[in-house]
């Protein structure tokens, strides 16, 4: 699963720490998600979509083989 978290963060000028605080996880977790090493739960994905103000589909996309 790929994601546009880094792009969205850059667009909204938000640091990993700020996003982590707004979603209630650690900065390392945000980094792991951005790097594609950890898949977030539905709840966390929805929280991110709320923070960015876009739909979950715009943040996360399935890749071939998923």
């Amino acid at each position: 699963m790929k994601n546009n978290i880094r792009v969205e963060r850059a667009r909204q000028r938000m640091s990993q720490q700020e996003l982590a605080e707004k979603t209630g996880v650690s900065r390392q977790t945000i980094n792991a998600i951005e790097l594609g090493k950890f898949n977030p739960s539905t709840v966390l994905a929805l929280k991110m979509s709320l923070v960015f103000g876009i739909s979950v589909n715009e943040i996360f996309q399935l890749e071939e083989g998923d």
Binding site: V25, S26, Q28, T29, N31
Partner: protein, 153 residues
């Protein structure tokens, strides 16, 4: 995220203190007593034996329980997944140990003296060692993951 029934993070310090005291009492008093064969030979317990047992048989397992069941600073779903993976790895290790236990017992009983067997049982024959194995696996993977993901790339 589902509510996790863990002790507050501050309990990690309580667990750490109990672990240090338990380790000191075990290394200084209990283990030497058992290895020298001076444990439980007199009819009633000596002061050293009581202190040693307090450290090895009470404080060590208690500290393991506290450390296993207390929260990390930020306890999120990545940490919850890490806990599950560590628990699964620990279970696999102990199932393997359980499978090879008859073979191990066969050799220990035939090759070792009864006094060695007693010492071995007294020092290592406790199920709470499993908690320390879990703790070791969890803490190492927690540290490695946090180090790996701490740089904002």
């Amino acid at each position: 995220m589902k509510k996790q029934h863990l002790l507050p993070h501050v309990w990690q310090w309580v667990g750490l203190m109990a672990l240090i005291v338990g380790l000191v009492l075990s290394i200084v008093i209990f283990v030497p007593l058992v290895i020298r064969g001076n444990y439980g030979i007199s009819g009633r317990m000596t002061g050293n034996e009581i202190l040693g047992e307090l450290g090895y048989l009470l404080l060590l397992p208690l500290s393991a329980i506290i450390l296993c069941f207390s929260r990390e600073k930020i306890e999120d779903e990545r940490i919850a997944e890490l806990r599950m993976k560590s628990l699964a790895t620990t279970a696999i290790i102990f199932v393997i140990l359980l499978i090879i236990a008859p073979v191990k017992s066969f050799f220990i009983v035939r090759l070792c003296s009864p006094s060695f067997l007693g010492k071995y049982q007294l020092l290592l024959g406790h199920s709470w060692w499993m908690l320390f194995v879990y703790l070791l696996i969890f803490k190492i993977s927690y540290w490695v993951q946090n180090k790996r993901y701490s740089d904002e790339k």
